[in-house]
């Protein structure tokens, strides 16, 4: 196809027509989507134990995660980040799995505190799941008992870095 000369370009559609090959433009949107995902996590309002209080404190006035575009959502259907804040017991385990499955893709999980990561001091107990990563895949581990708000925010920053640098943007979930 020959390129016509000296056409005054008036609209974007006309610019497209000047490209060789047709009327479509393909570009990478991955970066744009990642930027959008990273700058507004919507975590689920979901507290389990002690760490939930510290998570609430992180969302409250002193540390204020609204600055990062993070708003608590009450329903798993509207949220894309699950903060496991506390001990996962065998009675709660299936419910967490269900909540995770109810969340739309893409979704991330942050394990906050020793109990969520490995069961912590309760890992030998008869009623505790030793680590939430036995139930659902976890992206970031934030140790602490409970982690101070700075540690939680550091975990979120590391999760942002992980998403920005990841090759494939959608995780394959084992069902």
């Amino acid at each position: 196809m020959e390129v016509k000369e000296k056409i005054p370009l008036q609209s974007i559609a006309e610019i497209y027509q000047t490209f060789p090959g047709g009327e479509l433009m393909l570009t990478t949107t991955e970066k744009f989507f990642k930027w959008a995902q990273v700058s507004s996590f919507w975590p689920l309002t979901f507290g389990l134990a002690c760490c939930a209080i510290e998570m609430m404190a992180t969302f409250a006035s002193r540390f204020d995660l609204d600055r990062w575009g993070m708003i608590m959502r009450g329903s798993p259907r509207q949220s894309d980040l699950l903060i496991i804040s506390g001990t996962v017991t065998i009675k709660m385990g299936p419910r967490i799995r269900r909540l995770y499955e109810q969340m739309p893709e893409p979704k991330w999980v942050l394990a906050m505190g020793s109990c969520a990561i490995s069961g912590g001091i309760f890992r030998n107990s008869y009623a505790v799941v030793p680590g939430v990563d036995r139930i659902i895949p976890v992206d970031v581990f934030v140790p602490g008992c409970p982690p101070v708000p700075e540690a939680l925010m550091d975990g979120i920053l590391k999760l942002q870095d992980k998403i920005k640098n990841s090759k494939n943007d959608y995780r394959k979930v084992e069902r």
Binding site: L48, C50, A60, R62, T87, V128, P146
Partner: protein, 389 residues
């Protein structure tokens, strides 16, 4: 994952009709269930006919775990029980062991224990007030505004705790025979500087509470609990005092030097949500009073008895049974210790106030609207680390 499939099968009762009543499941993930509580509500229209709390979603096996840990190692474990008021848990446990061992702790340790326990009571009630504002949704200054105010005030006290012990929530600084360390040198002056701020904040909250029409409509005559029922249920703390009985273990069975302090026991009249809220807010003011007295009379000296080693790694409690109860922010927190003369307890039973207080819920919420259930639950103030243990 066979079990999960099974669990989902049993979980099918999300909505199921039965005659003209409706069975609705609420929780364990619900923004206003204060943690992991599941409520099965039987509704007739908007009215609650029957309500059944399902607990145990945070059962971590404290009592079994503590049979396998030594007396020293249990102290950090107790912090995780009522996680809004860690110090009172430590205090209850440590006082039990000291009662069994017949240890007297230095006077400064006693005063510091009172001081920290009362600060902890304020912190705990502030979290309650913030979440209660969320539960009522819009009353008392509007939505999450009160939550933000309360957490702002809470941070002031948590900073003090952090200077004292290095941790924000799980302190682990009571030890058998005293405290682990002295407060930093500028602790008392900083505390004195914050007291007027807190006083002003509490006055603001009280003013809002007494004048706010929406708050009164949402809480007055909602969830009325009679004194006799409260006693038979074993309800304690602000729930019992809201019903009009002036019973406070700090006065009734003084422990850890509470007989030296002057304070009043605020009580309610009807036993509704408004009274329970009022009692808690007035209690915060009384706590401030105790803190001021403790600051005034703070003696000089050591904070721990001198055991032969730095951190006593093995404490042996003589065989026998010991019971000790203290007034935690949520009520009558008891520790029942059965020891057999070894380093580990034979049986350690926690009498959790939230457990008994939450059991009241089915009795007082019948006939109210669904939205009021949240107000009633919020006014009972359960903490699930303690309910389930």
């Amino acid at each position: 994952m066979n079990l999960i499939a099974e669990q989902i099968e049993t979980y099918k009762s999300i909505i199921e009709t039965e005659g003209d009543t409706l069975l609705v499941n609420m929780g364990p993930q619900h923004p206003s269930t204060h943690g992991v509580l599941r409520l099965v509500l039987k509704l007739k229209g908007e009215e609650v006919v029957k309500i059944e709390p399902v607990i145990g979603y945070l059962h971590r096996g404290f009592e079994k775990l503590s049979e396998n840990l030594t007396y020293i190692q249990i102290v950090p474990l107790t912090d995780r029980m009522d996680y809004l008021a860690s110090i009172t848990n430590e205090l209850a446990y440590v006082l039990t062991i000291e009662k069994a061992l017949k240890i007297e702790v230095p006077k400064k340790a006693i005063y510091l224990r009172v001081l920290t326990a009362e600060l902890q009571r304020i912190v705990s009630h502030l979290v309650w007030l913030g979440t209660f504002g969320l539960d009522l949704g819009g009353a008392l200054g509007g939505g999450s505004t009160l939550f933000l105010y309360c957490f702002r005030e809470r941070e002031i006290i948590l900073d003090l705790f952090e200077e004292f012990s290095g941790a924000r929530m799980m302190y682990n600084f009571n030890q058998i025979g005293g405290l682990r360390y002295q407060p930093p040198l500028d602790f008392f002056s900083k505390l004195k500087a914050t007291l007027p701020k807190l006083k002003q904040a509490f006055a603001e909250y009280e003013e809002m509470l007494q004048e706010n029409y929406v708050f009164k409509v949402r809480t007055k005559n909602i969830g009325v609990l009679e004194v006799s029922l409260a006693q038979r249920m074993g309800a304690s703390g602000p729930v019992l005092r809201g019903s009009g009985l002036a019973y406070d273990i700090r006065k009734a069975y003084p422990y850890s030097g509470y007989e030296n302090f002057e304070f009043e026991i605020p009580i309610g009249e009807n036993g509704d949500c408004f009274d329970r809220a009022k009692v808690r807010i007035l209690e915060m003011k009384q706590s401030l009073r105790i803190i001021q007295q403790a600051l005034k009379g703070m003696p000089e000296g050591e904070v721990a008895i001198r055991p032969p080693v730095r951190v006593p790694t093995a404490v042996k409690v003589p065989a026998g049974e010991t019971y000790m109860h203290i007034e935690a922010p949520r009520g009558d927190l008891g520790v029942f210790l059965v020891s057999d003369g070894t380093e580990k307890p034979y049986r350690l039973k926690w009498r959790a106030p939230s457990f008994s207080n939450l059991a009241v819920l089915p009795f007082i919420s019948n006939g109210h609207k669904v939205a009021d259930v949240m107000a009633i639950l919020g006014s009972l103030d359960p903490v699930f680390g303690e309910v389930d243990r």
